[in-house]
Subunit: 366 residues, 2 copies
């Protein structure tokens, strides 16, 4: 457990049933006019109604931008930023899963900054609209990170932009917004959070504090394994899964992710495999190679998971169901792409292109 | 474990050997001129040299205010604030134990705000000099809290002022500054941190995240019990104790403290008993009454401590050595004073004046 670390998560976390309505006064600090950034599907879970109630009760004006697609594009960010400027928004309220929450960060930045070099090349300054994030899935952790992950068509992958200025000011955590979340999304997002916690422990930037948070996240999520595997959730399960996902977000805000994320982006970009599922398909195979390269650290991770690697692999496999298979040629291409991702350098175990191919083949080979 | 909670610690934690020198660039964000706020005893532990090295290397100017007394007075705060204004300080660097770190927060505030109603009555605005805190004891947690605890001569106690504006921007954690810390101060401050973690779990504001952090703090500190009881510390022990104390600070930043702190202030004000020792003298007796009032929560706390209450009591008692004894009349007076402290309402178990007297009598009766 390393004592050489940095840790920074300047987000106010407000958790609990009806927290948006109960703590609505917290929104008053950010100004008179809010742009709500959301996706089409977030309209039906009750979150948008709660936000509207809170803003109305505070006498704040708002507009809604609900055209964020899954795996958000630069075009949708630009459209949101234009609307934020037209509406003279003082702050952004992001409502949704990872896509709307990530897009909202880029919208908040683009509403204040011009980027002549393009969004992926331009350094991000400190001037962004303040943001309030309300997750409606339990996985991404975006509500407590400084990352915004956008589709990068030029490079045919997803690329993260990152800056301390992109931390939301507040994350409201209310599990009730997940009450009707479909089982596949629930499972995929929970696996995403598990992957964040495990990848955080594999990071060269892992320290005592992120280790403690990663273990807490895994404890909370695996305490709901029965719910995840049966699809029967109580409101308490939902809140617990959301809590675990947020705590895993606090981990990766400080550790970053591992090559698993870099590898998964190809599956999402080329095959539309949901992000969490992509991580879950790859993680057990990745960890098997880690066990050879860094056995002591893997022992600690298994203790945090509460099972050995084969049991972990079976549990994740059960949640994923039948797995996709791809031809060898494609897997070699994805391994090559992943070998160029900056996540490679972030892992305590070094994975060269051949190692990455071995992971792909073990996980997804025909 | 409650899921209804708020959590906010917007401090960048930078941990590890030589972190001030290695991460000196982080100081550049705060301006050209620093006032270092410290106590006389902090001069000899190497922290001041590291700060001076870092500021010089950055081309930043600095002045030193080293007249913060133990249990800082309002007068010393005013003197520091005058110096900060005369020097046109852009930011404050606090170096020392709880007293200099707490005083530095009030100095940072007073350098920017006037307080016609007096420091304990005046609401604290957002305009304060940015602060960087460097603890040289492992106990207070002040480096990650929004509290400044000052001697209140009018009310004959210590009184905390509190505001989100009083969070330091950075906490540098380097255990080497504690290498030559005397055994009594090491023990007293470690007990202070233990008390913070336990009191945090007793708070009505305790939530899942602060519980996890409290347990992590107790794990780290009790893993050094052997070092604490023998007085033989490695640099790793020192870093571990400092880490535990900071994590306990992250707890109380969100939960506040319990009546134990309110009770201890009388022992410190009237008998100059060091703050951590005062808490340690009272805590086991306090927890015995909690065991009757909130048995389930006490069970969780005992699991976090890793022992039952009597073993905990013996371990703390061993560290404290011979305990002070006071006449019944004095203890009744202290119980009365403690019953008026706002900490009373912050505890899951309600302690009336008679309960508080029972604690005092059990702990310190003749």
């Amino acid at each position: 457990m390393s004592m050489d670390f940095q840790y920074y998560v300047p987000v106010r976390i407000v958790s609990g049933s009806d927290c948006v309505k109960k703590q609505k006064e917290l929104l008053c600090a950010f100004g008179q006019r809010a742009l709500i950034v959301t996706g089409k599907s977030s309209v039906r879970n009750g979150a948008l109604e709660d936000v509207a109630y809170a803003l109305n009760a505070n006498g704040q004006k708002f507009a809604v931008f609900d055209r964020v697609p899954n795996n958000p594009t630069v075009e949708s960010v630009e459209e949101g930023a234009r609307l934020a400027k037209e509406f003279c928004a003082d702050f952004i309220v992001a409502v949704g899963g990872g896509s709307p929450m990530d897009a909202a960060k880029a919208v908040a930045m683009r509403a204040k900054q011009s980027i002549p070099e393009g969004i992926f090349a331009h350094p991000i300054g400190g001037d962004v609209l303040p943001m309030v994030h309300i997750p409606t899935t339990a996985g991404t952790g975006s509500e407590v990170t400084q990352y915004s992950i956008l589709t990068n068509d030029e490079k045919q992958t997803k690329t993260s932009i990152s800056s301390p200025a992109l931390f939301p000011k507040i994350a409201f955590l209310d599990g009730k917004y997940m009450a009707d979340l479909p089982q596949d999304i629930t499972v995929n997002t929970a696996i995403d959070a598990i992957s964040h916690a495990v990848e955080g422990m594999l990071s060269v930037r892992a320290g005592a504090l992120t280790d403690a948070l990663a273990k807490e996240s895994l404890r909370a999520i695996f305490s709901e394994y029965r719910a995840l595997s049966t699809g029967n959730y109580t409101i308490h399960s939902r809140q617990n899964l959301l809590y675990g996902a947020t705590v895993a977000g606090m981990v990766i805000a400080n550790t970053g992710t591992s090559p698993v994320h870099g590898m998964g982006y190809s599956l999402t970009y080329f095959h539309k495999i949901p992000h969490g599922r992509a991580n879950g398909l790859l993680l057990p195979s990745f960890l098997r190679i880690c066990r050879k390269k860094i056995p002591e650290r893997m022992q600690e991770i298994c203790e945090a998971i509460g099972s050995d690697l084969e049991e972990f692999s079976q549990r994740i496999g059960f949640l994923l169901g039948e797995r996709e298979r791809y031809p060898d040629e494609a897997l070699r291409d994805y391994a090559h792409r992943a070998s160029m991702n900056k996540n490679i350098k972030n892992c305590r175990a070094f994975f060269d292109e051949n190692d990455l191919y071995e992971v792909f083949k073990d996980a997804l080979g025909k």
